[in-house]
């Protein structure tokens, strides 16, 4: 019994909260980017590629310019450029968004790998002391250990992500711009009739989603870690898409989804110390994502059926 208590207290403690938030943040930015485009009825499957490009741009700029701000800016610009290309291909050149998204994902992996070899002469991963990471937030709580673990030492964009959730929810549901955007997604013909330029709106949100994807990538390489690794997103973009579906394109519920995935991730890494095979631990976030997504869609389906039979 004592042994069990010991294990439980080892696994569940205050640091679990912060490691959950830590693991959830990169997914959260991807989710928000997807939420934004999904509201205009575009499934941004290329978010993974945008993140990889942005992460590479952030590391490179931070290394050469010695400033995380410039790294972040470079990441955002890269994200916007990639997103603008996707929007152009989808809206103007009539490419299937799924094909473009997957194409961008493949391009991102191949091209960053190529540039990594050419620029730094390394393959696999690049880390160097000259990479300037994002600052960490520290407050003085008078040495209170619990408050220190809970609220200190967050990377800058971890709290910013949480703020963004509420900002985005406000913009989508409480402003005219948000209403128009949602109408574009719900019924483009009606929106067009009401005088909204549908194509322009879609283009616009793709650019914003590029900004968010850029922040996601910069956070991944300069905040979450301090290096660039080939394919460093490791499916986080797709988890973001899953979280967006989980939340039904609502930023708040999408955030909850991210926290669930982040929780599964950080719980797994703790269980590793108990001697489970590492591959099963690494599998946990992916399995949880698929299961949670399925449960959410089942619930949605049931709600829809109930609504139909009520009529």
């Amino acid at each position: 019994m004592d042994g069990l208590n010991e294990i439980l207290s080892l696994v569940f403690n205050a640091t679990l909260v912060r490691s959950t938030i830590r693991a959830a943040t990169p997914i959260l930015y991807a989710t928000l980017a997807c939420v934004l485009t999904q509201q205009a009825n575009i499934l941004n499957i290329g978010i993974e590629g945008i993140m990889i490009f942005a992460a590479f741009a952030a590391v490179t700029t931070s290394y050469f310019a010695g400033s995380w701000v410039l790294g972040l800016l470079a990441a955002i610009i890269t994200g916007v450029v990639v997103a603008a290309f996707m929007a152009f291909a989808h809206l103007k050149a009539k490419a299937d968004i799924f094909v473009v998204g997957m194409g961008v994902n493949m391009l991102a992996i191949a091209m960053t790998r190529f540039l990594l070899q050419r620029t730094f002469g390394v393959s696999g991963s690049f880390h160097h002391n000259d990479i300037v990471p994002m600052p960490r937030l520290n407050f003085d709580f008078g040495g209170n250990a619990l408050l220190d673990t809970l609220f200190n030492d967050y990377s800058l964009f971890e709290p910013v992500g949480i703020v963004l959730v509420f900002v985005l929810a406000f913009i989508l549901y409480k402003t005219v711009w948000g209403l128009r955007l949602r109408s574009v997604g719900l019924n483009p013909l009606a929106a067009e009739t009401a005088g909204i330029n549908v194509t322009f709106r879609k283009f616009e949100v793709m650019l914003y989603s590029g900004v968010l994807g850029g922040i996601a990538g910069a956070h991944l390489s300069l905040g979450y870690s301090r290096m660039f690794v080939e394919n460093m997103t490791n499916g986080r973009g797709f988890m973001g898409v899953a979280a967006m579906f989980f939340g039904g394109a609502n930023p708040f519920w999408g955030w909850i989804g991210c926290l669930i995935f982040g929780f599964a991730d950080s719980l797994g890494s703790r269980l590793q110390s108990l001697g489970l095979p590492s591959q099963f631990i690494l599998m946990i976030p992916y399995v949880v994502t698929v299961v949670v997504l399925t449960l959410a869609m089942m619930r949605k389906k049931r709600a829809e059926t109930a609504r139909k039979s009520a009529i």
Partner: protein
């Protein structure tokens, strides 16, 4: 009202039963082919492999799982024995299919995440229960008699190439010359209408994914039995993704599949030589392929592609 419904149900049931019987026969057939292949022989050429995966992609939504399946399947294939392989790969394909059909869960998301699950799971199997205790994680080498026959030595080509061509013809025949293929295409274009005229879209979707999974499993088996002779941890360096790309470029036109598979295989093979002799990283080729796909996808970009877009716009509308 309820009589009507019952009758409809009964009819649907009868139809589904028939469909299942036929599919069973088909799966068995594919299985026998594989068993035969395994009995006879040995090896795979990248082209052949690519071809197969490409076909897998043909089913549209299905393809990504191919990678995962081939990984899981092959682990089981040479470790646990032949009988387990079939149900395993088919089931792996069935999961996203069923999720998509019943709850509209996005299949791209699920299949990609399941790839990671498959990679880690096989990595565990190879590392622990089935390890060959070698310096790199791999399973013991399979029996010489179970390997695919090599052709054109010293290349790694093997009769997997002919298996691939056989599967290509089989898939083409199934899609365009059978009742089942017609229904599959029908469901792909308009599931609601299919349901209305009495084709159960969910069942068809799931079976499409299961078959797609089966072909993916075949690809994995050929890779293992033909080229490596053992299951290497994470052996497939994105071959399935190349296959998906080929089908994306072909815009699901099966006649283009062999041509494009060959094209990609030539690029990839050439990349190795290019790196060795000129020092240009072979990742450049991957970049070029990705750019190529993006350009191919942008139908409205060039005037010459209008003819093609007119033909495929019907598919896209679905």
């Amino acid at each position: 009202m309820s009589d009507n419904h019952d009758r409809e149900l009964a009819r649907e049931q009868a139809y589904v039963d028939g469909l299942f019987a036929r599919l069973d026969a088909e799966v068995t057939q594919a299985n026998e082919r594989l068993a035969q292949v395994q009995l006879e022989v040995d090896p795979a050429n990248p082209d052949a492999d690519a071809l197969i995966r490409r076909e897998t992609e043909y089913h549209g939504s299905g393809g990504l799982t191919a990678f995962g399946i081939s990984a899981v399947d092959t682990a089981l294939w040479d470790c646990l024995g032949k009988s387990l392989g079939v149900p395993c790969w088919a089931l792996w394909g069935a999961i996203p299919g069923a999720l998509k059909a019943y709850w509209k869960v996005n299949e791209v998301c699920v299949t990609i995440l399941m790839n990671y699950v498959a990679i880690y799971f096989t990595s565990y199997l190879v590392g622990n229960p089935f390890s060959a205790r070698a310096s790199i994680p791999r399973t013991p080498t399979i029996e010489e008699s179970a390997r695919l026959l090599r052709i054109l030595r010293p290349s790694r080509a093997n009769i997997g190439l002919f298996v691939a061509l056989g599967v290509l013809v089989l898939v083409w025949w199934m899609l365009y010359h059978t009742n089942w293929g017609y229904k599959l295409r029908h469901v792909g274009q308009n599931p609601s209408f299919s349901e209305y005229v009495g084709i159960p879209p969910k069942k068809v979707m799931i079976w499409g994914m299961i078959l797609s999974g089966a072909i993916g499993g075949l690809a994995g088996a050929i890779e293992v039995m033909g080229i490596h002779g053992h299951f290497l941890d994470n052996f497939s360096p994105g071959i399935a993704f190349d296959g998906m790309l080929a089908s994306l470029i072909a815009k699901n036109d099966i006649r283009m599949v062999p041509v494009l598979s060959l094209f990609l295989a030539v690029l990839k093979t050439g990349a190795l030589g290019m790196e060795r002799f000129t020092g240009v990283p072979k990742t450049l080729i991957d970049t070029i392929i990705a750019v190529f796909i993006l350009l191919a996808a942008m139908e409205g970009l060039f005037a010459y592609s209008r003819r093609r877009s007119a033909r495929s716009s019907g598919e896209e509308a679905a």
